[in-house]
Each structure stands twice: as C-alpha cells, then as structure tokens.
C-alpha cells in the first residue's frame, strides 16, 4: 500500500534519476539517518557501543569496501585483514608524527595510503583471475602482517610490538584514548559510515561503477565494448582499499585502542569480512550493512543464549559459533546466493502488491 511507484510523479530529470525512486524508500532513508544521528547518541551506553554498534559500523565500512571489489568488480580478495592493518598502522604513524592535525584528516589519509597499497597489490589482477587471484591476495595478507610485525619503525620501536592510540580530540571531544565517551566513539564511526556509504552508492551508480560491473560480468566482453580493464580493476582495488583502510584505522584507533597485528588483522578478519559480504549479499550496499549487522550480532546472541541463559562454558559456545557460522555460509550459498539483500528485494516485491496481490 505504501511501497509503490504509483502516484509518485517525476517531473525533472534529477528527480527521475535519484537514488531512491520510491517515496517510501526515501522516508525510510531519512528516518534511519535521523535515528542514527539524533536519537542513538543520546541513549547509547558503554555496552551497546562496544559490543554492538561501534564494531557494526566499522565492519560495515570494511564490508562496503570488500563489496565494491568482490561484489561489484568480481575480484575476490582474501587480503582484507592485511589492508585493514595498513590503515591502522598508517593512522598510528600519522597520529604520532603529526599530533596537531585533526584526527579526521589522519583517518582519511590512512585510507588514502591503504588505497595506494591496495592498488599496488591489485596489479596482478590484470593477469590472474578467479580464485587464483583470491590466493594471490593471500600474499598481501601474510606479507603485510609480517611486515608490521618485523619492521619496528611501524610501531615506533615499542617493546611490546603493539601500537597504542594516543588521546586525540575532534571538536574538543576525545575520540581516542581512555577518556572517550561511547557517544563520541559512535559518532565518529557514524560520520565515516555515512560518508563512505554515500560515496559508494554514488560511485556504483555512475560510470566507474558500471565499468566495474561490466568487468565482473565478463571481463573480455567488457574490454571489447570499451571498458579499460586496467583502469576499472585498479580503481576498484583503490576505492575498496580506501574504505577498508578507513575501517582499519577506526578499528584500531577508536574501537580497540591497542592492537597486536597478527591477532587483530589476521587471516580470520579477512574471512569474517568476506562472510559479511556473502551473507549480506554480493553487489549490494544494503547487503554490506545487513551482513555486518548479522555477523556482529550472531556471536553476541549466541553468547547471551549459551553462556548467560543456558550456562554452558564459553569455550563450547565459541566452538558452536564456528559451526553455526559455517553452516549459515553453506546454507546461504545454497538457498540464497545473493544473501540477505535478495531477501529484502523479495520482501519489497511482495510489498509492491500488498495487500491485493492480484
């Protein structure tokens, strides 16, 4: 009844090509933004920020990044953890070298540096395809983690080999360090999520995004109709790494505060973000959010159910979590290869006809 094109007349070209052509989608979009910006910061507490909302937002950025590369451009990458580490270490070096520059600038620059690194590791994608490339990106994962472990310049020669985020302020509020309020943590992540999602949405709607999708669907055919594979693949790697770098910087500086590279940005992180994209839906921005939310909530839900309600040992619950995640991945690939986003699309199709489906 509410969700339909009928009655929503477009009188300008601008209105005709807007992001959300259906009025209900526009209201929903503004409502979500309003709740996220105007309500949650005032009611958020420490548990919600640290257990759910902040990791959700950070992983959403990473999932958007990987989705651009894998979902839109069709290049499977298992190097996400390594690129997040680049973002984190770049942010750390910038924070400690230029303490007076705003944190926002540092995070953006960290994303930029990661984009360069990502583009460099994307070069082999011009020769290598499919899962050969997936395995080749493992080289990035392992090499980068090793590099940050061994070269002590990256962690300012600290004895523990860890990096610790010093306290930094944005508009007079601490966003990193021990005195950060949950609301500040949440808001800085939300700021970047909003920016990244807007950017990604508009990139994928435009020329660049279309050339990515052409490469994904069939690269040789795309080349014949005039898409430059070099440009398309490298921009996909660069843009994707830019987002992943930002999420890595936030993950280190805002969320964890102290990071040991092998633990925080290991191969499991790469798989986690990949799973978010698969479960959420490849080639869908909504899917990135849905997948991130799902995989952040699932362990929390399992822990609440298993440990707090049933009283099982945490170890068993964590093993059970592996089983559940693995089974879900297989289930989704069999039943709904396009993920939660596809389910949402089905719901929207049904809503169009509701309540008179004839």
């Amino acid at each position: 009844m509410l969700y339909r094109e009928a009655g929503d007349f477009k009188t300008t070209y601008k209105a005709d090509s807007q992001t959300f052509p259906i009025a209900f989608d526009r209201w929903r979009y503004w409502a979500v933004l309003a709740v996220a910006w105007l309500v949650i910061p005032f009611v958020i507490n420490d548990y919600w920020a640290n257990a759910i909302l902040v990791p959700f937002l950070i992983y959403a950025i990473a999932a958007i990044g990987l989705n651009i590369l894998t979902g839109y451009c069709g290049q499977v990458s298992l190097g996400t953890g390594g690129f997040m580490a680049v973002g984190a270490y770049a942010c750390y070096k910038l924070m400690t070298s230029f303490p007076d520059v705003s944190m926002l600038v540092h995070i953006m620059l960290a994303g930029g540096i990661t984009a360069l690194v990502g583009a460099a590791f994307g070069l082999p994608s011009l020769r290598i395809k499919g899962f050969y490339l997936a395995v080749a990106t493992l080289a990035a994962q392992f090499f980068l983690v090793w590099l940050f472990n061994k070269v002590s310049w990256f962690y300012n020669y600290s004895a523990s080999g860890q990096i610790n985020a010093p306290e930094r302020f944005v508009f007079g509020h601490a966003v990193t360090g021990a005195n950060t309020t949950p609301a500040a943590q949440y808001l800085i992540c939300l700021l970047f999520v909003t920016g990244c999602a807007l950017l990604a949405r508009n990139l994928t709607r435009g020329t660049v995004g279309r050339s990515w999708m052409a490469i994904r669907d069939m690269d040789i055919a795309a080349e014949i109709i005039g898409v430059d594979p070099l440009k398309a693949k490298l921009t996909a790697f660069a843009v994707s790494s830019f987002f992943i770098g930002i999420s890595g910087a936030l993950f280190f500086a805002v969320y964890l505060g102290a990071v040991e590279v092998g633990e925080a940005f290991g191969i499991n992180k790469s798989f986690l973000v990949l799973f978010m994209c698969i479960i959420g839906g490849l080639g869908s921005l909504f899917g990135s959010f849905a997948g991130a939310a799902f995989l952040v909530l699932l362990p929390v839900a399992l822990k609440v159910l298993g440990v707090d309600v049933l009283g099982w040992p945490t170890q068993i619950v964590s093993h059970l979590q592996l089983v559940v995640v693995g089974a879900l991945i297989m289930f989704f690939l069999i039943k709904e290869p396009h993920g939660l986003a596809q389910m949402w699309r089905h719901i929207k199709e049904k809503l169009r006809l509701w309540p008179f489906p004839y």
Partner: protein
C-alpha cells in the same frame, strides 16, 4: 667441501622433506578439483579433523562429551578403553567416508553448476563448520598423536655424512618422521595413480574429470564418483593429518597448512598430480633456502609469506601454473 655449503645442502634436503608434506595436502585438493571443479579450502581442516578423530578413537574419548556434559550436567569423558592404532585408522577412515557422503549429499549436490568462486566460498564455510564440529567432538586442547611413528633426527644419516665436511660439520640432520612421510607419500601417490589407471572406479573418475556430461551419457553415476572422490580426499587428509599431527601435535594450526598448500597448487597447476608434488617440493625448498640465506637479513620468519609471494610472482608470468591446462577464455 666447506661446512657452509654442506649446511646449505642440508637446508635443501629438509626443504624437500617439508615440500613432501605440503604436497600431501595439495594432493587432496587436486583430486577433488579435477573431478568436480570444487576448490576445496577445507582440505586442511579435513586433515585436522581426521587426526583429531584418530586420537579421539585411540584414546576412547566419548564424542561430543563436553557438549553432552554441558547440556545434561553429566561427567563423562572416556569409554574406558583404548583402541590399537590400526583399528582406529580404519574407524577414522569410516568417519571420513561418512563425512564425504554427507558433504556431497547435503551441500555440494545442491551447488552443481554454480560458479567456481561460489563453490570455493562454500568450502570456506565447510572449513569453519568442520573445525567447530571437530572441536566440539574432541575438545580443542593440543593432543599428541602416538601411532608408533619414529621421531627425532636420524643418527644413521648423521654419522654417515659427518665425514664429508671439515671439523665444524657434524653431518646432516634429517628428521626420521620426514623420511617416513616421504616414503608414505611415494606409496600413496603410486597407489592413487594405480587406482586411477587400472581400476574401473578409477577410470570412471578420470572420465568424470574429463567431461561431466559425456561421463553421464555412458552411464557413470556422478553422485557415486563425487562421493568416491571426496572419500579419497578424506583418505589423503587422514594420511596428511597423521604425518603433520605426529610432527607438530594435533592442534588448530594444522588446518593452516591448507593455506600453505594453495601456493603449492598455484605453482603446480590445479589439475595436475605431478604438479602438486613438484610444486610442493619447490615451495618447500624455496622457503627453507630463502629463510636460511636471506631471512636473517630482513628479520626472519619469512616462511609465513614467502610461498605466497613466490606463487604470486610466478603466476604473473604463467597464470596456469607449471603443469596446468592452458586457460582458454571465450566470450
């Protein structure tokens, strides 16, 4: 001959032995990939699972005992018997065959005809699932695998070669287990090749690998062959699991050798059994030599990434690997 040079040779020999271990895992990949086009990321976890099951059966552990205890509040851990290694291996093989059937029936039969990358991601899911099941069944603590394989360096080889160098050379240090592993690998490969060449099932398997539809049209059951192939991969996983488990204990890191097998495969080509072996040897020797010669200059622990970077550089020049079939793309 100078001692340094001889130590270099020792590194090469040990690299070859390590390469055999990689090749053992890579073999399982090639088997499944040839027959069904599935790139089985879970091969390493299968090896871990097989080794865990073997230890569990030998020690008479009750499967899922931790879970059962948590749910019902009981205190059971062991049946109270121990099983001899040989019988336990048979039981484990049975479990792996059941696993092969289950994987095929519940997962991959529903994914026939999907893109390779979807299948690959499904096997990543399978790897997580199997790892969780393995931990739930047998517990996640590090176990020692005692199936009576020899351990430690071989004194015989050490004494024999001690005279080659000067005073500061004490002979080659070669792990006995590695030598056994090499022998087992040779026997296994010979058996697999024999199976593929001279038995009815083996020929059917090769037919399926060549062309699914043609094989189907001459009356070969694809389902049967796929279960068979997964079972064979389970057997290879069991052998690899026993060898690796005896070498470094049965623990989670065992499944990470699967990752190491990926560059081995990329070097050798995904579709070639000789490729898996040669690739394994190259990676084994390469990473040991690199660590020995260049590692100390740049901080060591290069074994973590050397194989991947080598494969990456190699692939840029020859995308199908050493022995792989030429990749032909059509629009």
């Amino acid at each position: 001959m100078s001692a340094d040079f001889l130590y270099g040779i020792e590194v090469v020999i040990n690299g070859l032995m390590a390469g055999v271990m990689y090749a053992l895992v890579a073999l399982g990949f090639v088997l499944i990939f040839k027959a069904s086009g599935i790139f089985n990321y879970a091969q390493g976890v299968m090896a871990l699972f097989a080794a865990l099951t073997l230890v569990g059966v030998m020690e008479g552990q009750v499967p899922f005992s931790h879970l059962i205890n948590a749910v019902f509040g009981t205190e059971i851990h062991h049946f109270g018997w121990t099983v001899p290694a040989f019988a336990a291996i048979l039981v484990t093989l049975g479990v792996m065959i059941f696993f092969a059937w289950a994987v095929h029936t519940f997962v991959f039969r529903h994914l026939v005809g999907q893109e390779p990358i979807i299948l690959f991601m499904a096997t990543i899911g399978l790897a997580y699932f199997l790892e969780g099941v393995g931990d739930l069944m047998w517990g996640s603590d590090i176990k020692t695998l005692a199936v009576g394989l020899p351990q430690g360096g071989s004194l015989f080889v050490e004494d024999l070669t001690a005279g080659l160098g000067g005073d500061d050379f004490y002979g080659f240090f070669i792990d006995k287990l590695d030598m056994v592993a090499t022998l087992v690998a040779i026997v296994l490969v010979a058996a697999l090749i024999g199976f593929a060449q001279y038995t009815k099932q083996g020929r059917a398997m090769r037919a399926v690998a060549d062309d699914h539809q043609a094989a189907l049209s001459v009356g070969i059951s694809l389902n049967y062959i796929w279960v068979l192939v997964w079972s064979l991969a389970g057997l290879v996983a069991l052998v690899a699991g026993v060898m690796w488990g005896a070498k470094s204990g049965v623990q989670f890191s065992l499944s990470l050798i699967a990752l190491k097998a990926l560059p081995v495969l990329m070097l050798g080509g995904f579709t070639s059994i000789p490729g898996a072996i040669v690739g394994g040897l190259i990676i084994g020797v390469g990473e040991k030599l690199f660590e020995y010669m260049i590692g100390p200059m740049i901080g060591g622990a290069t074994e973590n990434w050397f194989a991947y970077v080598l494969a990456l550089i190699f692939l840029v020049f020859r995308p199908q690997g050493l022995f792989g079939e030429k990749i032909i793309e059509r629009v």
